[in-house]
Amino acid sequence: MTAASPSEIMTIVASRLLSNGTICFVGIGIPSKAANLARLTHAPDLVLIYESGTIGARPEVFPLSIGDGELATTADTVVSTTEIFSYWLQGGRVAVGFLGAAQVDRFANLNSTVIGNYDSPKVRLPGAGGAPEIAALAAETFVIIEHDKRKLVEKVDFVTSAGFLDGGDSRQQRGIRNSGPSVIITDLCCFRPHAETKELTVTQLHPGVTREQVRNATGWSVKFADEIFETEPPTETELDTLRDLEHRTELAHRGSGA
């Protein structure tokens, strides 16, 4: 078997953070990949909720869109979009909100709206979707993003979803009740917020990754925790399961109408 790629390691590390039985509100893309990998390895009773209203989805292949038929067919129940956000998310049923973003900043604020100025943007991104409420209403959030200077920035161009805002207790001051982002998983490392300042701090490095690499790929002067864990390398089961899923997905999505 070929060695795990940085992107595979990122997905596997994220999957390990989801414990069995957790109720997880999942974003499409890498969060959905990691969550399904967890479900097929150590967390068979992980409950996946997608904003398309599918509760308890168990897709055989990765969905391309958040509303693929696969999610509805394999779900325990399918509810309206209105209901998923009101009763289930706002009602406090979700333990982990699992999000991606175009940019994350030093205080874990997320941007998926614009690069540049809002009124005359350099790049108009798709927008908020369900993220602002997922970030504010799930008990905690996990964020997954590729490690790149343009993505991990000192300050996001636009706060789509509040992280720790300006740091310290500014999140609580604004009246947000949950604890917020507890971990940012990248293809190089994991950041966790500092207990007081809430600045994202490197707490874990993936196998073979140096501090220098992380510094060079981060858009702010990055701090490292006193104690840094080294990520356990992917197991054969994790890597096999992930690759098998990718393979099945490719076959299923290939060809017209698939």
Binding site: G69, A162, G257
Partner: protein, 279 residues
């Protein structure tokens, strides 16, 4: 009087320049055929409403039919950007487009409020988000019972809602299933409702709690098999993911987009191009 009419007649009769129109569908049952008919009839100055504007809104915007968009997520799901939408926002091409941007939860609350006859929707939403500073429609209110500050969004009551469903009976009662999104909410929020359906059946085999929209809520209905392609109709055909991927290249260039629209939408039926439904 029968509510059934050809789609072109339904669009012509019930949609005018300047209307506020919502073609809803959360990835599933997106009323593409109806959107194409709007483009063919060159209806202008529309305010488009949708939680997840995707390819059909990219086409309507790119063809210059819209002046405003109320939305929460505008992308090509699983693929990336909507290039015609971006061109309109970033470069005012083919025309300037005003945006009223909310979150999914806020859009759903806006629809539910209109369907319930209320002026605004209430949610615990977008605290700390910069959306608040950029959208004057997003406001807040103090709860009269607890004093908690809660977010409010104005109700959205479109002139016309358009939805696609799997089945309708001969009277025009409509049955949809699978990912039902906000279709019931938007149908009850709008002043007029146009429905396209895959199949007309003698009797709806709908369980008691099914998502059924009674004929008396529906203004006009058209039989349009494959009317949701390239999205999907649960139980009838699957999502054409390849087409969603290929749209990225078609829509990146203004010329390529125009040529594609002229060939496939203005001159011939996209639904014919897409062939027989896959059962």
């Amino acid at each position: 009087m029968s509510k059934y009419s050809p789609l072109a007649d339904a669009i012509q009769t019930h949609i005018s320049d300047g209307d506020c129109v919502a073609l809803e569908g959360f990835t599933h049952l997106i009323p593409f055929a109806a959107g194409h008919e709007i483009i063919r009839q060159r209806i202008r100055d529309l305010t488009l409403v949708r939680m997840t504007p995707d390819l059909i809104y990219d086409q309507i915007i790119g063809m210059g039919c819209a002046r405003k968009l109320i939305f929460s997520w505008g992308g090509n799901p699983g693929v990336g950007s909507l290039h015609r939408f971006r061109d309109a926002v970033e470069n005012q091409y083919p025309n300037e487009i005003e945006i009223d941007e909310r979150s999914h939860a806020a859009m759903a609350a806006s629809y539910a409020a209109a369907a319930s006859g209320l002026p605004f929707g209430l949610l615990r939403g977008f605290v700390g988000s910069d959306l608040l500073a950029h959208n004057p429609n997003l406001k807040s209110i103090d709860c009269p019972y607890t004093g908690e500050r809660l977010a409010t969004v104005p109700a959205i009551r479109p002139d016309v809602a358009i939805i696609h469903a799997q089945q309708a009976d001969r009277v025009g009662n409509v049955h949809l299933w699978g990912i039902v999104g906000v279709q019931k909410e938007i149908a009850l929020a709008a002043k007029r409702v146009i429905v396209t359906v895959e199949e007309i059946v003698d009797k709806l085999d709908a369980p008691p709690n099914a998502c059924v929209i009674p004929a008396w809520v529906v203004t006009a209905i058209s039989h349009v098999p494959r009317g949701a392609k390239p999205s999907y109709a649960h139980g009838y055909y699957e999502r054409d993911n390849e087409f969603y991927r290929s749209w990225d290249a078609i829509s990146r260039s203004r010329d390529k987009f125009s040529a594609w629209m002229n060939q496939h939408i203005m001159r011939e039926s996209f639904e014919t191009l897409h062939g027989e439904p896959m059962l």
